[in-house]
Symmetry: C2
Subunit: 458 residues, 2 copies
């Protein structure tokens, strides 16, 4: 879990400041025993997305298991004027803070849709509140990238996609997490060496223009590279792609593949394939790169460009056409111990702001399948019985402890392959037309919402 | 420098895999003594941007000073089949690797334009090559966000902007670096507690809807919060913003400010301001948030919405309208020692691929001012003398050692304020119309380009 070590070391401060002021206010208003249930979900799917691929749960769990306040963090908080009325007991509470709650979640690699809870947390309210920002940050981003990668992989129709986006990702950690999410969603490898070291994702790479330019001529660069890397790919567009391929053939340089990084990829790949085949270079592969995305790949496929590998960078690791997943983390219920009744009572909670309402109560998603395809989901209260459907959320943490072994990255990837196979082709088509998957609310949930709205308006 | 510790610890692997295969090929082709000069720059400004605000240099320098290969990293590389022909001497070289080169850069907080080198590195070719990916990743992202933040600050015309984007940033490190870049470009504070801890940026925060909802009624939540945080801001849109303000007034709750997070911000802020003023709540401020960006803020300003603070999150920390800065790192020259001449000879390098040419030679940017405004830049060779102009690049590292004290974040912010004041208003206007700042190439540079292109085509 070293990739986020820095953040686990300072995890208590890797949060929005208001989580900590609210914690203090919960504390001073004697709410430490109150249990809160929060759910993370996405209100609307991003534009150009018909489904989401869940990713990031591993980092949520690592975070919750490691979360603690160090003395220097507490001293730092005390330097803020705003905390001057906070009790010393509150800071003692923080010093002994540990996440003791329960966590349910949809497994990484799953397909989900708008309004479906991805994560549900039940914990003492301060604990459940403080963890909000970090959870949103890691799940929003990794789900965003896995969902984008899924589209790119769909568009490539079986041609392998390699993730090449480190240099344009939002910093080195975003690059690392993007490699992981892309691999879950079906990319074959990454250019990111650290992602390979940390996660075991196959590392790939060819050469840069600078390598070619550092030699006096292109053919010397090719020869020197192939001498030591006989399985290497040669970059041919530093000066002129066609001329470069001719030089390779004339000099009888054997190479596993070529990379095209600019120009008209349809025409170039066809011309180059012909040049290669005419000279018996049948096994030499063509890789294409250079601001590729699902639309360009679809076009290359439609025009039958003979490309054997797609290297996709910028557009993938930034999810360029929609770089935001608006996942939110909303209070759905409060559980309070009633001494008279000698048990916990649950109070459903619902936000009713204009265009921003939330669905109350702890929920489960029930999914229906028919003929090996998923056909509809019902969002219901977690304790409802829905026949002939599979629940999507599983419990991972109980009283702050991990209760099931987490899958490896390779298992997650495999699980995703099975999940995506259950999704009908119409959701995978690359077009800007939205195809809506049917998601319904259970009758019971709708009834509760009506009641809560009525109460609010009175 | 702890925010990137994890990456400095594994810095040698936080790179594209091809940098390492190229390193091995440079090594085996006996090029270790060859000096390479690389420059980082942006070929075209992103859409909706008339200028860039440079950020990220501190992390480049920290990275170069800390870069090393650990035994476990080298062992990891050896597990790759592709390295099977690499000499053992190459791995010994890596084990003793240190960055020994020179670095020139435009200071953080500077304004720059397309094609102007932001960073220039001169080092033995393997060193200069290996550092490419990390440098691009940290400078591309931080410059992207500083440039976006600058637009948002311009649009706000003096009304303070607080950065609220942690939960939608591309993971927790992106959130942290985005806070830093936003502060450089003029934001007043951040919601990110870790950014406050690491960088000293003022931390800000109000409360979440969940805090309100956790109480039986809204007024109890307000009262409890203000009891402990008399300087707190109250969030009023959980149910109905106007009703919430009326409750505050009826209950005589004194608060420093209110936050509006949804609805028609123009109408609501005006109606609420009137409600407050009518009851003598003159000093109670109004903060607005909720998917704000430079366009919405311009509209709010035009419509004279009485808003005292803007909280800007998602759109800022993802640079949503253009989440990519296409900074590149290109070889511009090779320096080789000539035994016969007993000195280094320089060979200018230039890439001529279609639409992707690069400018040769080590360069400097010379900027002209008139009447306290910057009026034009000339990109020239570094050793050219250009009268009446200020050079933008300074040397920071010499033979791998820091030769000048780096400014603090507060000094960078101040420097930026002076720089942005030199930029004419027409570049700062929020519209989708591009306003082009005049950037010219020196005659000498143009002559060299012509010669190199001629040589290439022969």
């Amino acid at each position: 879990m070293s990739e986020l070590d820095q953040f686990y070391n300072n995890s208590s401060l890797s949060t929005d400041f208001y989580e900590l002021t609210m914690a203090s206010a919960y504390f001073s208003s004697h709410q430490t025993d109150k249990l809160a249930i929060f759910e993370m979900y996405v209100r609307r799917l991003p534009k150009n997305r018909n489904y989401l691929v869940v990713a990031g749960l591993k980092h949520v769990i690592d975070f919750l298991l490691n979360l603690k306040f160090k003395t220097e963090h507490i001293n730092f908080l005390k330097t803020h004027d705003i905390f001057k009325r906070s009790e010393e007991k509150f800071f003692d509470y923080l010093l002994n803070f540990k996440f003791t709650g329960n966590l349910w979640a949809v497994p990484e690699g799953s397909i989900i849709f708008a309004n479906e809870p991805i994560i549900r947390i039940e914990a003492p309210i301060i604990e459940a509140q403080i963890v909000e920002t970090f959870i949103l940050s890691v799940v929003n981003f990794q789900t965003l990238i896995a969902s984008k990668a899924s589209r790119i992989v769909n568009a490539s129709c079986g041609t392998p996609v390699i993730e090449f986006g480190f240099r344009r990702a939002h910093g080195p950690l975003a690059a690392l997490l993007a490699s992981r999410s892309s691999f879950i969603a079906g990319c074959l490898g990454t250019s990111n060496t650290l992602a390979s070291y940390e996660f075991g994702i196959p590392s790939n790479g060819t050469m840069a223009h600078s390598f070619i330019m550092s030699f006096e001529d292109e053919e010397s660069a090719f020869k020197e590279f192939i001498k030591i890397f006989p399985d290497g790919f040669l970059l041919v567009d530093t000066y002129d792609s066609i001329k470069a391929v001719k030089k390779i053939i004339q000099n009888k340089i054997k190479c596993k593949g070529l990379r095209l990084d600019s120009g008209d990829l349809v025409k170039l790949s066809k011309d180059i394939r012909k040049l290669l085949d005419d000279e018996g270079y049948y096994s030499t592969k063509i890789m294409a790169s250079g601001d590729l995305n699902e639309y360009i790949i679809t076009d290359l496929k439609n025009k039958k460009a003979p490309i054997d590998f797609f290297g996709v960078g910028t557009e993938l690791t930034t999810s360029r056409d929609e770089p935001v997943l608006n996942g939110i983390y909303k209070l759905v219920a409060i559980k309070q111990y009633s001494k008279t009744k000698n048990k916990y009572e649950i109070f459903y909670k619902m936000k009713t702001s204009i265009n921003k309402i939330s669905y109350p109560g702890p929920k489960q998603v029930f999914r229906f399948e028919k003929n090996n395809h998923i056909i509809k989901d019902i969002i219901a209260l977690e304790d409802e019985k829905i026949d002939n459907a599979t629940p999507l959320l599983f419990q991972y943490l109980k009283d702050g402890k991990l209760i099931q072994k987490l899958p490896t990255l390779f298992e997650i990837r495999k699980y995703h392959q099975k999940q995506i196979a259950l999704l009908s082709e119409r959701f995978k088509k690359i077009s800007n037309e939205k195809v809506e998957y049917p998601v319904f609310l259970s009758k019971k949930l709708k009834k509760i919402m009506k009641e809560l709205q009525k109460n609010e308006s009175t």
